[in-house]
């Protein structure tokens, strides 16, 4: 038996087993593993869109910034929405460590979540500011500006020193106060109310 015949028999057997209900005389085509539509993405295309930053720092660009530089950028580009000191609003409150001890957000509907009391990862700050802020000019900040704002917000929340410099090496090492409070959902249906 030639290899080609063997392949044909195998293909028939495969079609027969996957299309058991095919009518006599009906032709069924088995789906290929790959269609090959689309085209290879170039490295430049991936680089242009791959903006995410992970908790271990993957994705952080070169650059750096400290709170003093961040304060000036914050006053110019952020304060109108988040308040002069990050506590006044009208949009999301960014600064605040209370309540420091427990983590009673489930119990107390009056509590306001901030970066200092609720955000579990410092890298998320870079990722979010870089992708979405400021609201009227998203994606306009340079890496040094983003690092500076991150440093400013972390220092305002008393998580890093006023003089600390944030960069690709230091930011992933910042441990957020709420880091250990987060658990992954394990519910899978069934009668239990959790």
């Amino acid at each position: 038996m030639s290899l080609r015949t063997l392949a044909a028999i195998l293909a028939l057997a495969l079609v027969g087993s996957t299309c058991g209900r095919a009518e006599k005389g009906e032709v069924r085509v088995a789906a290929p593993t790959r269609y090959g539509f689309g085209r290879p993405a170039t490295a430049a295309e991936v680089r242009a869109w791959d903006i995410d930053v992970m908790p271990d720092g993957t994705g952080l660009p070169p650059g750096s910034g400290a709170a003093s530089q961040g304060a000036a950028i914050y006053a110019r580009k952020c304060a109108a929405c988040h308040g002069k000191t990050g506590t006044e609003g009208p949009f999301d409150r960014l600064v605040g460590r209370e309540p420091r001890e427990r983590f009673p957000f489930g119990r107390d509907p009056r509590l306001v979540k901030t970066i200092g009391n609720y955000w579990p990862y410092a890298t998320t700050l870079y990722d979010y500011i870089n992708r979405a802020m400021p609201l009227d000019a998203p994606g306009s900040l340079k890496p040094n500006e983003v690092y500076s704002l991150v440093a400013f917000l972390l220092s305002r929340n008393e998580i890093i020193a006023d003089t600390a410099v944030m960069n690709a090496a230091t930011l992933p090492r910042v441990v957020m106060p709420a880091h250990d409070r987060f658990v992954t959902d394990t519910r899978r249906g069934g009668p239990e109310i959790r």
């Binding site: 789906a31 993405a41 995410d52 979405a132």
Partner: protein, 403 residues
């Protein structure tokens, strides 16, 4: 009658569902006394609703707002595309379908760029399923008021027939590498909204959808293409999707950590609570309806579960003392709105109407007390407790328990 969608009068008119002939004539739309005596309007390239019908979403907030579906105006299970609820984080982007691209990269053998034509060339699937914002029902848990309509209580859920390509098909084409566990889905909106999704959802039923109720997606729903993760919280169904990065762990974006996480009474917060638990809401009778008379009334509502089919819906017409099964209108589909009906004779007295859904996993919609016990009063998403409508002896209906 005013046309303003946010005004209270318009909201109430919308809740009532229709305009009278006099109102139309005042608006310059003549309505003949006898339509059999004058020729009607000719054929047209694009149909319109009857001018008598004025269903409206209720928009709340500006660029980052929500716009709620008028559940009380709908029949069956499908939401007309222009009434599908809206939620976005930096407005609706305008995307040219000719320039649209979807990038899949990360832990894959072949990083690939797909244009819309390529996505549509793959074998397609269609399915009906609901989409619900995980914040739906917030006022019924945290801000209970008697003057809430079904739209204001639960209008952040809608059902459509979605058409697209299964993510499993695309992922087979790009070749997912061993060790991959998650993927990031990222939108082309001004928020570049991004969520991490477990890879199992891709082998289950996730798809890239480009069709909605027989036509292209509406811009508010992600035109030209969106991620659809059936049964999972709306935010994870990333609209205007432009990039998927496959990885071995979650990315911990802002939307899945500081937002869309569930603080619990045990002083933890739950991450990645994707599935929308079983839920139901009576849409008639409900505020601002007034029942003109005692006697036969059909109670109607919607039930759904993100974990599968609705198995049953029970209705109580005496504030929970007795329960009886409602009739489930076919089709009853998994992860899809299911309409229920219950024939009721109102004796004209004060009473409270409740509905309680159960799904095929054995989960039963909890009471408000049970859910508060489990989640705490401060929790901010996934409010699937039993809703109550109080009927007063004068026929008015208000939200919540009275007395």
């Amino acid at each position: 009658m005013t046309d303003g969608p946010i005004s209270r009068r318009a909201l109430l008119a919308g809740a009532a569902g229709a305009l009278g002939a006099q109102a139309l004539e005042r608006a310059g739309l003549p309505v003949p006394q006898d339509p059999t005596k004058v020729p009607g309007t000719p054929v047209s390239p694009l149909g319109q609703r009857s001018p008598f019908e004025r269903p409206r979403r209720v928009p709340v907030g500006t660029g980052q707002g929500i716009s709620l579906t008028p559940l009380q105006n709908l029949s069956g299970i499908v939401t007309p595309a222009d009434l599908h609820f809206e939620r976005h984080h930096a407005g609706v982007p305008a995307i040219d379908p000719q320039r649209y691209k979807l990038l899949i990269h990360g832990m894959v053998e072949r990083p690939t760029m797909f244009d819309l034509e390529a996505l549509k060339r793959f074998p397609s699937v269609s399915r009906l399923c609901f989409l619900e914002c995980s914040g739906n029902g917030f006022p019924s848990y945290r801000d209970i008021r008697p003057d809430l309509t079904p739209q204001l209580v639960d209008g952040l859920t809608s059902t459509s027939e979605w058409t697209g390509v299964l993510l499993s098909t695309l992922f087979r084409d790009v070749g997912v590498k061993p060790g991959a566990r998650w993927f990031l889905a990222e939108g082309e909106d001004a928020a570049v909204m991004a969520r991490s999704i477990p890879l199992e959802k891709a082998s289950d039923d996730a798809m890239i959808a480009y069709g909605q109720n027989g036509e292209a997606l509406r811009p508010e729903q992600g035109y030209p293409a969106r991620l659809l993760v059936p049964g999972w919280e709306g935010n994870a169904n990333v609209k205007w999707i432009r990039r998927i990065e496959i990885a071995d762990r979650p990315f911990m974006t802002r939307e899945e950590t500081s937002k869309y996480s569930d603080p619990l009474p045990d002083c933890t917060a739950r991450l990645f609570s994707f599935a929308m638990d079983a839920k139901s809401v009576i849409t008639f009778p409900a505020y601002p309806v007034t029942l003109p008379d005692k006697g036969w009334w059909e109670i109607e509502g919607l039930a759904w579960s993100g974990r599968g089919r609705v198995r049953r819906v029970d209705v109580s017409t005496d504030a929970g003392r007795h329960w009886a099964p409602a009739e489930l209108q076919q089709p009853v589909l998994p992860k899809c709105h299911t309409r229920f009906r219950y024939l009721w004779t109102w004796d004209g007295g004060d009473t409270t109407l409740l509905s309680r859904a159960a799904d095929e996993t054995g989960y039963v919609q909890p009471t408000l007390d049970e859910l508060r016990q489990a989640r705490g009063r401060g929790t901010t998403y996934h409010f699937n407790h039993i809703r109550a409508w109080t009927v007063r002896r004068d026929g008015t209906v208000v939200f919540g328990l009275e007395g």
